[in-house]
């Protein structure tokens, strides 16, 4: 291992240490997510005034935009973890990368569905092939591909490393797709779609949006910690520390 990595980080990458660490912080993360989420929803659904153009329909924005940001954020984390997993072969990086995939896929799915519901009213159509939507759909396929590839291997670690490679290929592909679809749309004089209805967002609309952004990030951490803990148990099921946990759980 490189010497510039601080000792505590190195210790944290050991499965039983991370298991305890994640277990300690997970309740706080989900509590923060719930509190901020409720505050954001109240601000968005109740306090914020109706939009002068779209009425109450725009309120989908308070979940659509944070989920869209999360779909990209999680992919970036997955990419970094994949890179670390492939270059340094760290077990924890493999697990974090693979555990992030279903969460990212969930956020991408929500983004597509809420966007479709919002667009149905705003543009009069459930779907359109502009650059952003097409890229988001491609992103969903990439997440699903990573999940499917990881599960098609007998050896869990090999599956994780292979899927990590796919994730990295995908990172290169998404901007390429967005670029090419943009070009294609200008070729066909596509509709110029503004994703945010009002051109400038009132402050009463901004703070619920930002609060929800933090809430979703906190949720991601909580969910990631939970999935990573479970995946570590599965990966290390022969080891003593896992057996100990199984026994303790039975006694509780």
């Amino acid at each position: 291992m490189a010497n510039w990595i601080p000792l505590w980080l190195h210790k944290l990458s050991s499965p039983p240490v991370f298991y305890r660490f994640a277990g300690r912080w997970r309740p706080w993360a989900i509590a923060l997510a719930l509190v901020l989420g409720i505050v954001a929803l109240y601000g968005g659904l109740v306090l914020a005034p109706p939009d002068y153009q779209q009425g109450d329909d725009y309120r989908i924005i308070f979940i659509h935009v944070p989920c869209a940001w999360m779909s990209l954020f999680v992919y970036a984390i997955m990419g970094v973890a994949s890179f670390i997993a492939l270059v340094w072969r760290i077990k924890l990086a493999e697990v974090v990368a693979m555990a992030s995939a279903p969460i990212g896929a969930s956020f991408t799915f929500i983004t597509l569905v809420t966007g479709s519901l919002w667009g149905a009213r705003m543009w009069g159509t459930w779907w359109t092939w502009d650059a952003r939507l097409t890229s988001e759909l491609v992103l969903l396929f990439l997440y699903l591909g990573v999940i499917a590839l990881c599960h098609s291997f007998e050896d869990r670690r090999q599956g994780a490393r292979t899927a990590a490679f796919l994730a990295l290929i995908g990172i290169v592909n998404v901007p390429i797709v967005e670029f090419s679809v943009n070009w294609w749309n200008t070729l066909h004089q596509g509709s110029t779609i503004r994703l945010l209805g009002p051109s400038s967002i009132a402050p009463s609309m901004i703070w619920p949006l930002l609060t929800m952004t933090v809430a979703t990030k906190s949720y991601y951490i909580a969910s990631l910690f939970g999935r990573t803990r479970t995946d570590l148990l599965a990966l290390e099921s022969g080891k003593d520390w896992v057996r100990q946990i199984a026994e303790n759980e039975a006694r509780a």
Binding site: L149, S152, F165, L166, V181
Partner: protein
């Protein structure tokens, strides 16, 4: 070089298999007039795109077989242990696969386009677009096939993984065709395809070798 010759010989011995994608492309293309009606104006508009997509799908069908026989009889692992650079040899294998699969398709492409009444001036652009798009697909597909090398049935998974990568290729190829059909300059998207192909020729075999090592190392 020897790898190339060997793969081509093997492919020739099973030339029945080579006919399959061609047959598939013929059937699909001829179904379109039945499905959409023989009205000339409509067929003319969709001809370029339909031929493009049909050729791509036919290639996808044949993609799974790219390294399959070599994995099964163990010769791929031997290749990995050989002193020559793995990337180069995989590049040769991909080339052999492209020659055996895509070239027959490109040869019958004028026939397919004719069946759909593609205007004659667009034909050379179609051939050029296919000439650039099909090797791109073979190269990208090769990397993905290598990734699924260790798994059992990979057909559906391969299609799922390949789709996101296909989208830009299809967009630029179809863009060139659409421009040519309108009489507009079509060289820009073709140039993009050409540049992408050059990049892929250099990077894809390396990525393929890495993917193979990751997927097969136990």
């Amino acid at each position: 070089m020897a790898v190339l010759r060997r793969d081509l010989t093997l492919a020739w011995r099973q030339r029945g298999d080579m006919a399959l994608p061609v047959l598939y492309a013929l059937i699909v293309t001829s179904l379109f007039p039945f499905a959409l009606g023989p009205e000339d104006a409509l067929l003319r508009r969709i001809a370029g795109g339909v031929v493009l997509v049909t050729v791509l799908l036919a290639m996808l069908l044949a993609m799974d077989a790219m390294f399959r026989s070599d994995i099964e009889d163990g010769s791929l692992e031997q290749l990995m242990l050989a002193p020559q650079p793995l990337a180069l040899m995989l590049g040769m294998k991909i080339l052999a696969h492209w020659l055996a699969t895509a070239v027959p398709l490109i040869v019958i492409a004028p026939l397919l386009a004719g069946m759909l009444h593609l205007p004659t001036p667009v034909m050379p652009v179609l051939l050029l677009a296919l000439l650039l798009a099909t090797p791109l697909l073979s190269l990208l597909g090769g990397v993905l096939v290598a990734l699924t090398a260790g798994t059992r049935r990979s057909g559906m998974l391969l299609a799922l993984m390949l789709l996101p990568l296909c989208v830009p290729v299809v967009i630029f190829a179809a863009g060139a065709l659409a421009a040519a059909q309108e009489g507009l300059p079509w060289i820009a998207p073709i140039a993009w395809l050409g540049a992408a192909l050059v990049l892929a020729v250099v990077l894809a075999p390396l990525a393929c070798a890495t993917a193979l090592r990751i997927a097969l190392d136990s």
